[in-house]
Structure formats: C-alpha cells, structure tokens
Symmetry: C2
Subunit: 201 residues, 2 copies
C-alpha cells in the first residue's frame, strides 16, 4: 500500500520465481533501485532476448542459439555417434558435460512421464528418439533420466520401446541418490554413475 | 561454453544480484525459459519502469511514485507533524509502518555515516533534516537508524546537530539486536523499541 506501484510490480514479478519469496523479492527490488543503471537494463534486455534468442536443436532438442542449424554438440566432429545419452532437461546435459566423462551425443526428452501431471509419451521427444535409432548408426542408448519415480518410469518405458530395435539400452548406475535431481549431483557421483551403467535386459 | 549466449547473458545478469550465485541464476534462467511468456516480459517491463517510475519525496526522501508532489505519508492528514522518525533506508519506513505503532512523519537519510565507505554527512539527507527542524513545528526527532556501528555513529552525529535546535532527540530502545539490520526485526521487537525510546541528553 505504501510502496509505489513500480516497486510493487517488480516485487510481484520476482516473487513468481521459484525459491524467491516476498521478502527476498523486496530486498532485490531495493537493491536494484540503488544499483547502477546498467543492472536493471541488462537484466531486462537479457529477459527479453531469452526466448527470441534461443531455439531447440532439431536433432537432440537441447537448447541452442536461435538460427543455428543444430547445436554445438550435434555439430561436433570429435564425438561418437554410436552412443546417445537420453536426459530430461537441457540442464542435465550441462551436468554431464561438466564431468568430462561422456563423448557421445545427447537426446533431450524435455520432461519425464508423469500421469499425475498428465505428461504422456506424446508430450516428450520420444518419437524423435526412436526415429534417430531407426536411422541407424547408434549402438547404445544411455538412459540418464532422473533417479526419481518419473525418471525411472520414463526409463522403463523407453527400454520397452528401444530394445526391439536391436540397440543396447543402459541406465546410469545407482550411484545417484534416489529421489534426487540429476543436475544437483556432484561430478564424481555422476562419473561413477556413468562408469557403472547397467544393461537393461 | 555450451550454453547459448542469451542464456549465459541472463545467468550473468542474475548472478550480479545479492544472494544469487551462478547455480541459482542457472535454475532461474531455465525456469524462465519454460515459464509462460508473461513472466520474462513482466519482469523486464517492471525492471525498465523501476527507475523511471519512482522518485524521492522532496520532503522526507522516501521512495514514491514519480510525478507526485510528495509521498503518501507526508501528504496524509491523519499523522502528527510534531514527531519525525529518522531512518536510513525506505525499507526501514516499511518495517516501522508494519508495526502500526507510529503515526508521525519520517525522514529517510538514504544511508548511514561510514568513514570506511567514504560516506560523510554531506552524502546523507542531514542538511534537509536540519532545515525541517529549523522550519518549526517538530517537537521530537526519533533516531531509528540501524543498531549497528554506522547507525549508532549517525545517531550520535545527528544528536549533536539537533539538540542545539531545542528539539527533543530520542533513540529507539535497545530491544533491537545489536549489529543487526532494522528491516529484519520482528514487529513486536520494533514495537517495544518504539515504546522504550530514551532521551538523549
């Protein structure tokens, strides 16, 4: 009530971000009020460019810069085509890349199966994954969905779909903490999980 | 390196906010990527309007909407002119207003004296406060600067300047945790601090 509308608007907008409550939103707003002119403008520009400047790679469906034919990983000639690591989200690609333990390609599902949230196979990039396998040249699919209920269900579903195609299907080793989120795993845990991956027969 | 430039730009800009590290900035960025179009745009608009839409009240130097002659508190006819509460920042006004225990006017210094940070009396709205007292009609000045070293030094300095003007000068009671920040105090602590204010003679 006592706050000028422009401040209240920014506090409201910041409060819609995950993990940011009204108190943190107020702190950030008052900080931005005193900050150099650059910061609010830089932030606003970056926000406006976020969606217009990005696109999904048409091969692996990772996030990439708009206007590119494919993402840097799909384009790279130094990576093996025979192994494809299937993850839920772009951030999972980043987490795996940070380990330096994987030199194949990726496939980003853009989510996981979840009957509760109404996410079915058609909502994920599963058809596109099967097409990639059918096109040939892939010997192994590493299922690196989260070690959660949804991630496990997605892995089981993909296993059913992929095994008949004659490809080897593996799952990241259970070095990952169960119920956790892949992107929070530390690098050595992720490395061990990569190394200890198991056949799904 | 693997992130598209628009994502990296937003992560960098968010990381410049206090309390937001690169990891949180990444989370927020990927959240915004999937969020409805409204949220990034609403945030950007609010950021751009932040400085252009706000101004300082020419009487108390609190933040107010741009274009107003004075802020709502200075304008109100239901408040007493005889008592002025002096605070460091606009957020401190909010904290005191939330207690419902003060019905006078405010004066926002816009900081506190700090030789280390090079903040001297001329950098604060002290001259304007003295002018308000000289203009007459003020019986009491409540010094509600933070109970920190800088806030105490500022209060001591203001006491020296104000007592010769024949005004009563009080300081919020030491119910406040020493070394803390006024805006974090809970309402009952602030109420007791208001009620137990002491004369500075």
């Amino acid at each position: 009530m006592l706050l000028p509308v422009p401040l209240q608007n920014l506090i409201n907008a910041l409060s819609r971000l995950p993990g940011i409550g009204p108190k943190t939103a107020s702190r950030l707003t008052f900080y931005l009020l005193h900050a150099s002119d650059d910061l609010p403008n830089d932030l606003a520009e970056a926000l406006l460019a976020l969606k217009s400047g990005t696109a999904y790679c048409p091969i692996c469906f990772n996030i990439t810069a708009a206007g590119r034919e494919m993402c840097e990983i799909c384009e790279s000639r130094d990576r093996s085509n025979g192994v494809v690591c299937v993850v839920e989200e772009p951030m999972d690609v980043l987490a795996l890349e940070r380990t330096g333990g994987f030199a194949g390609r990726y496939h980003v599902l853009q989510g996981a199966l979840s009957p509760i949230e109404g996410i079915s196979p058609e909502d994920l990039r599963i058809r596109e994954l099967i097409e990639r396998v059918r096109a040939g040249g892939i010997q192994e699919i590493i299922l690196a969905t989260n070690p959660s209920m949804e991630g496990d269900a997605t892995a089981m579903y993909l296993r059913q779909q992929l095994l008949p195609l004659g490809v080897r299907v593996t799952r990241l080793a259970r070095g990952l903490p169960v119920g956790g989120d892949l992107e929070y795993a530390d690098q050595s845990t992720l490395l061990r999980a990569l190394a200890g991956r198991q056949d799904m027969n």
